[in-house]
Symmetry: C2
Subunit: 326 residues, 2 copies
């Protein structure tokens, strides 16, 4: 059994994904014309649906995909979409997945309300389905995601991030939702707490590996056509793992100099210089090593499950995450 | 029994309100420094706490104030605060209750995240307390509030509001949360569905009367020192009850002329002219009449309860709402 691409993974649960898409569309129907217009616009921008895929795969690994799995998948996708819509407001983003962002088309007011609506819609589905366990998990996740982002903002302002806080931030802002996908998927199809815990651990470690890789990609590779330019985190004064390692392992003078450069920002800051310095100091290598360690932990978490196509798919997903260049 | 002011009402449940304030403060404690800073800032701006007061009074009228009443009161206050924080972002408001707004002090990013955090925190409390009935009510309310606001925005853009849609908008965006306060308060202390329904009806009618009064105040009275200037709704192209009535009862030529004036906006639009025309056409009188009808319905809803200090307090609250000049 070998899986070579993300599309091979989604192919394994194509029927379930098709069913999910039907339900997801239904969940977004509204009698308010403007709401319907905006949600139809959102539906046109087909994302990779990583989160619903995780819910469905987890459900299938722990038991069988059922009604609750679909509700869980819709819940996390609605929450994720709400987050993206709000993110674009806070970042003043003009585009999302090469489409103009909702705030760009309909202004901030509509975008903030739309995010609130999508979140409420997701929670209502869980309430209507009596999925009290999902609500417990998801409300804590929303709280952790906003806490993580706010912690990141305060560390950004002070430019004093350390490794411990970095891991707390990425666990809260990124890994928590992926963990939730796996937990909800598992809870939908089993009551075996050992299996649920294994899938939660998988999600948490996958999420950490994913975010470290994301932060590495800010330092390496070529400027992407539609993506963020290299060094964006440096310009935004975000200290991520490669730089945190570098600062800790440089002479005090060098560290102070880099911090000063980043702090002052503006035209004088040549991010290429910082990137080169981080590369030379082994910051990238270190972050890649750590990312692979978390990836391995994610894979190891699945050891309690019998070897199956679905288990291989989840293992391969981890590999794609840490190997990806975009 | 006669109650002459809002403070006499709150005085009736002063002990419970003090207890509420202690619990509310506790619910906002966070390990994230920035979060703690922002929430302490919010706590300094003591609002009128109308929504917790409604929860506590409803609980007391239907039975006894208990742990669940407090959780309900915190839940609605957190949700209301989240809404205000988001509102200030979407309106680019610089101040709130004479304090600089959160977006003005900490930027939009923090304000949007803070709103999400407060909402999640409230829902978590309900989850932790196993208040599944509260969750059912509150998630539907969040959905209705955003739907109402979005419907208002689309009507504002098209300038084609009618009375039916107006009532749908104010029921969703304003009355729904007040209804929820009364319902949650009642559910906390009784399982008697007749009492719960009576208090829900009270809240809904109170909410409608409140919003109509709010919309009237945009036309009458003097420019407030710290408040919105007169005619703000007209400038924002919001058609509310006084104007909707006026347009419907004017000659087709007059209506078209006013709509054109409002549509073009800018310096040419003298809101005083529009206000005068609405007054002369009886738009204010009509809106006041309707507002008082809803107020009476709210009072009548309480008829099933024995006459008591608390019932009188709730009845008086309705009077204050429709009589207020600010």
């Amino acid at each position: 059994m070998k899986i070579n691409s993300l599309s091979e993974i989604t192919h394994l649960i194509q029927n379930e994904l098709d069913q999910f898409n039907v339900f997801f569309k239904q969940s977004l129907k509204s009698k308010v014309g403007l709401l319907d217009l905006v949600t139809r616009y959102i539906l046109k921008q087909k994302g990779k649906k990583v989160r619903p895929v995780l819910v469905l795969l987890s459900s299938k690994l722990a038991g069988e995909v059922n009604e609750r799995s679909y509700r869980g998948a819709i819940l996390v996708e609605l929450l994720h979409t709400a987050t993206l819509v709000h993110d674009d407001v806070v970042d003043n983003a003009e585009t999302r997945r090469s489409f103009p962002s909702i705030n760009a088309v309909w202004k901030n007011k509509v975008a903030v309300l739309m995010g609130d609506y999508l979140l409420a819609r997701g929670l209502m589905l869980a309430v209507e389905g009596n999925d009290f366990d999902f609500l417990k998990v998801i409300t804590n996740t929303v709280k952790r995601m906003s806490e993580g982002e706010l912690l990141q903002i305060s560390k950004t302002r002070k430019l004093d991030n350390d490794e411990e806080t970095y891991f707390r931030i990425i666990s809260d802002k990124t890994a928590s939702l992926l963990t939730t996908c796996c937990e909800i998927g598992a809870r939908a199809s089993t009551t075996d707490e050992q299996k649920i815990l294994a899938l939660k651990n998988y999600g948490e470690n996958l999420g950490i590996a994913f975010q470290i890789r994301d932060d590495i990609l800010d330092y390496i590779g070529t400027t992407k056509l539609f993506g963020k330019p290299l060094g964006g985190d440096i310009r935004e004064k975000k200290l991520t793992l490669p730089l945190i390692y570098t600062l800790k392992n440089s002479s005090s003078d060098d560290s102070k100099h880099i911090i000063k450069l980043i702090k002052n920002g503006g035209k004088k800051l040549d991010v290429k210089d910082v990137i080169e310095y981080v590369k030379k100091s082994g910051g990238i290598d270190y972050a890649e090593k750590v990312s692979r360690e978390y990836a391995q932990k994610a894979i190891d978490s699945l050891a309690i499950f019998d070897k199956s196509e679905i288990r291989v798919a989840l293992e391969s997903l981890v590999q794609f995450v840490v190997d990806r260049n975009t």
